[in-house]
Assembly symmetry: C2
Homo-oligomer: 248 residues x 2
């Protein structure tokens, strides 16, 4: 049995609390949040507090607060014997200012408050200073997900920027597609199967192998026709990405 204290009241904290409450091998000893209102719906399930000085003992303290608050919050956890981890993709492990042992427990997925999370499909990127702590984090992670990876702070930083490209920037490409459809009363649904297929292809092919289209085959005529349909800002993006595809 691993005992944890969860620190934070945002999306990541919320979903971790829910999955841990339903996992036999894990006990949530306490939940802390500055604003008690945000965690009060858990008060019948475990102890909750808004006083960081009254944290109870646990094997692992999981800090799931905004990136900027991680250092400060970590410095207030005065348990020397615990492992203290954060859940951020973009903060180095050494930014934990704690007297206890340090680690990272980063779930690489996009969480929305109102959408249930299937943790079996959430990769956990783990880091610790000591092998025994890494093993403990692996035990914690594998109890909720089969996708568990050793990722150091440098790799995690890289993953975080890669995630911006494959998530936020991809979503922006969807937005431009959406706008183009809307202008001509075309239902965006028509594009959904293509979106799904494109996202599936990168599992069996590398993105280089999967690439097709006018940029790839340097189809100047189609590229020109497309540019004629776009706003100036859309053209700028179309031109830059087309050039980038062509330069490999």
């Amino acid at each position: 049995m691993i005992s944890v204290v969860i620190i934070g009241g945002g999306n990541v904290a919320y979903h971790l609390i829910n999955v841990f409450l339903n996992t036999k091998k894990i006990t949530i000893k306490q939940i802390y949040n500055r604003d008690i209102q945000k965690i009060k719906h858990f008060k019948n399930k475990t102890s909750i507090t808004s006083n960081i000085e009254s944290l109870v003992n646990a094997d692992i303290y999981i800090i799931a607060v905004s990136d900027d608050a991680i250092s400060t919050v970590s410095s207030k956890i005065l348990n020397k014997n615990a492992l203290i981890v954060h859940t951020s993709g973009s903060v180095a492990m050494q930014n934990l200012k704690t007297i206890g042992r340090k680690g990272v427990f980063y779930p690489l997925q996009s969480f929305s408050k109102h959408k249930p999370v299937d943790f079996k499909d959430v990769p956990f990127c783990l880091e610790a200073e000591q092998q025994t702590d890494l093993d403990l984090l692996k035990q914690l992670a594998t109890s909720i997900s089969p996708k568990v990876y050793d990722i150091n702070s440098e790799q995690r930083r890289q993953l975080h920027v890669a995630a911006v490209f494959v998530n936020n920037f991809v979503n922006h490409m969807y937005k431009i597609g959406y706008d183009l459809c809307k202008d001509y009363n075309v239902p965006f649904d028509v594009l959904v199967p293509l979106i799904r297929e494109t996202s599936k292809k990168v599992v069996s092919l590398t993105p280089d192998e999967a690439q097709t289209g006018p940029a790839k085959r340097n189809d100047v005529k189609t590229i020109k026709n497309h540019l004629d349909l776009l706003t100036e800002k859309q053209q700028e993006i179309y031109n830059l990405i087309t050039k980038s595809i062509q330069n490999g």
Copy 2:
């Protein structure tokens, strides 16, 4: 029973032939391709020819050749009583130079030669000059897919450029993510669940509602950290898309 002649030996022709051969309501009367080698594996299933002057009669002639060849090929089909359609996303219906009736039968999906196609998930964008021809195309399309749309040439042109954004450009975002991972020996697999989730989200939310990340919340510090990790070319793309997200 609808009788068709298929013109072409590329990916679209190949997959349409295969699905029609397995559809009771449709008979392929003949397959034509300039190079007979590319269609000879169908010779035991139906009549094949490389002589466009010897085309047999059919209800619909489906021209699935490269965009540039559509006009020329269509002008050689001398059946006045048939409906002649092409399968291209970027060619207007009026580019068919035929003495017969005209239409478009555009499957909006990315086809690879060696990957079987599940036509139930392929949207068909249909167009015709006459309502009776549109009805005939609907009958043809619904016999292989439930996703059938009335799309005129202007809308189809718009869809085609939108498809470049949601397919080719999205795939290029995956490629940059892939490169960033490779540089630091991070398995790309770690990103696959996020890729899948991002592609699923646009079904239930608009891309605007689904957007998150440092650009959206104008997190200047994270943006700066990310830029430090990128090559000059990657920075150019990161900056442009970030700006575009922020301008809505």
